[in-house]
């Protein structure tokens, strides 16, 4: 207000000026303002002025939610538009200027409404592009972008419905707004992705502090629709005072940094560095190779025997995928399976594995031998897995009882009914389901009671742990639990005679590991079975 000193001067202006308080109530309006908006008495809420369209009032409401400076052009009478310039809120007060015939500059979009996200009152992609243009025009040298992505938002939408999801987004937007400054541009890119465009921040530490504060704030509980919801946020940062050279790169670079933040474990932030571009490039090349691998027949299955400890005979084989790439060499499943899950390639790779394993098991001469196949939680997102199993059995002619799917505890992290339904459907086909890598997941043990699993496979980390009272107590505990639940137990990763005999004494049902045999190509199975000598015979 310092630029205009006296009230008389204000009254004489051709421009309408008003002051509104924190509740958007007009506390002062000059005559031009009152006349243009047909206001006769004060106080009155700015949003209560008569407007031809309800939509215009909504726009004004949304715009006023932003405590920063902004502008909005709306129709106040048929065919007559008025532009509202809304000042930043200070001490619960802000100035509103109205004028017609504005905006003058050609490039600023006439319809600000098109730049707004109706849900949160943040800007959308169009506003981002517009603000970027403005920054470019002023030659901004230290702009920065934060991309905020909510973790587990999809689950909220899926379990509580879109209404709850929307309500949550509004609260998230409020927390973001409360942590940022008036001249930051707040954008919702769509879905659960938010962007903060900061016109000026010279210090990288300042940005990191903001990101850390946001991660912390968004990690706190929300109360939505009668539920308590815990989500989290990951944030990618790119800044001109860092490794980004151009304004246009900021969003892309912040996205790359976000990807990195998510991969380093969620609920954190990451600042873009130039090597991320190379990494993204490499990842894309790897992705392309992976997508081609199936078609180029670069996958094979190897088989690792499982033996019954009591009967000292081979009971079956676990199928393990191998990827042999002409230039990359042998790529470990630990490296390509997560990527396959991420890019959706897991569905077709998984189908191939089940089919191939069933086909090859049909060639084994002992018809009691089972074949165990690993399936990823990503294959359980829909009912396809049921058809895949049914088709593989029909196509190969394998007896269902000879197929066993190995799933991991990760599948039960979000106790979905749909997942249980799929497991039961597969079980009804006559196929067994085993728990793999037992003891490494974070799932609560409750799921063990909810399904008749054929087997618990104890993770190799327990078997190979340095012998200690604690380690052996853990293994005994798992074995006891298995026998109480009537489930067989298989120890994975057995490498020494000591480990084997220890497990034998404790009543473990079956064994797998280098001590018995390494994984082998399908064509060596016949020879292996011919020559198999039980471990006790070897040892003795």
């Amino acid at each position: 207000m310092s630029m205009i000193d006296s009230v008389t001067e204000l009254e004489a202006l051709a421009t309408g000026i008003a002051i509104i308080d924190g509740d958007n109530v007009i506390t002062y309006a000059n005559t031009t303002f009152a006349r243009r908006l047909n206001i006769e008495v004060l106080p009155r809420r700015l949003t209560d002025i008569t407007l031809p369209e309800a939509r215009s009032r909504d726009l004004l409401e949304w715009q006023l939610r932003d405590i920063g400076e902004s502008a909005l052009t709306i129709e106040i009478a048929p065919g007559r538009t008025l532009t509202f310039y809304i000042g930043a809120r200070r001490d619960d007060q802000r100035m509103v200027i109205v004028a017609s015939g504005w905006p003058r500059r050609e490039e600023s979009t006439l319809d600000l409404a098109a730049q707004l996200d109706p849900l949160t009152g943040f800007g959308n992609r169009l506003m981002y592009a517009e603000r970027l243009r403005e920054l470019e025009a002023t030659g901004a040298r230290c702009a920065a972008v934060l991309v905020i992505d909510l973790d587990h938002f999809k689950q909220v939408n899926d379990t509580l419905g879109h209404g709850a999801g929307d309500e949550l987004l509004v609260l998230v937007a409020q927390r973001i707004r409360a942590s940022t400054r008036g001249n930051d541009t707040l954008i919702r890119l769509g879905g659960d992705e938010f962007v903060i465009l900061i016109p000026e921040e010279k210090r990288r530490e300042g940005l990191e502090a903001l990101a850390a504060r946001l991660v912390n704030l968004l990690g706190r509980p929300f109360l939505v629709n009668g539920h308590q919801i815990n989500i989290g946020a990951s944030i990618g940062i790119a800044t001109l005072v860092g490794d980004s050279e151009q304004l246009q790169d900021l969003l892309r670079h912040a996205d790359l940094a976000l990807y990195e933040a998510k991969h380093q474990g969620r609920a954190g932030h990451y600042v873009f560095q130039s090597q991320l571009e190379q990494r993204a490039f490499d990842r894309r090349a790897f992705e392309v190779d992976l997508r081609r691998a199936l078609g180029l027949r670069q996958f094979t299955l190897h088989y690792q025997p499982q033996t019954s400890i009591r009967d000292e005979r081979v009971i079956g084989f676990e199928a393990l995928i191998r990827w042999e790439h002409p230039t990359r060499g042998r790529v470990s499943p630990l490296n390509f399976i997560p990527l396959a899950e991420e890019i959706g390639e897991i569905a077709s790779i998984g189908r191939w594995v089940i089919r191939k394993a069933c086909e090859q098991a049909m060639t084994w001469r002992d018809e009691r031998l089972i074949v165990a196949v690993n399936v990823s939680p990503a294959q359980f997102v829909d009912d396809t897995i049921i058809d895949v199993v049914r088709d593989a059995l029909a196509h190969s002619g394998l007896a269902p009882a000879r197929l066993e799917l190995e799933i991991t505890e990760g599948l039960f992290l979000d106790e979905s009914e749909a997942i249980m339904r799929r497991l039961w459907a597969i079980q009804e086909l006559g196929v067994a389901i085993a728990i793999d890598d037992f003891g490494t997941g974070y799932a609560s043990l409750g799921y063990l009671n909810s399904f008749p699993f054929s087997k618990i496979k104890i993770d190799k980390s327990f078997i190979q742990a340095e012998p200690s009272p604690r380690a052996s107590a853990l293994v005994s505990g798992i074995l006891a639990m298995g026998s109480n639940l009537g489930m067989a137990t298989t120890a994975e990763g057995i490498e020494t005679a000591e480990q084997y005999h220890q497990l034998e004494q404790e009543g473990c049902s079956s064994a797998q590991g280098y001590y018995i045999a390494r994984p082998m190509p399908a064509d060596q199975i016949a020879d292996f079975l011919d020559q198999f000598a039980p471990p006790t015979a070897q040892a003795g």
């Binding site: 509980p221 109360l223 629709n225």
Partner: protein
Amino acid sequence: MTDTLYRLVYMSRNDITDEIELQIGGILEISRENNRRAEITGALMFNAGCFAQVLEGPHHAIQATFERIQCDERHSNVTVLLFEPLDARVFSNWAMAYVGTQAAAEQRFGHLGHDSGFEFDTLDGNEIFNVLRANLHDAEPA
């Protein structure tokens, strides 16, 4: 949904280091003023380690108040122990009752923060709620 009354019970870690009495006095004063306007009732408990609070009121009012409360830098590790619809208000006479320094509360509640290492997830919201209710008769009138 929004008109239904809800009860919220949470615990948090106290991060106030000095002038505690003064700070708490300030929290109570603003709480009573805001809560009365928002039709919220409840009680606040405090010891050296942590806060426990019960809020009762319409869904939207609890939501808005809780958003403010948990962004307050005077505490952290805010953990919701209970959030559910209620039949009748228990704290209807208190915009924010304070049962912080009662010996009885200290006895039943004083150990909670330390024992749980501020991992409040394992605590039972109903238990906390009952402690607060049991000590209400000693609370200063709002």
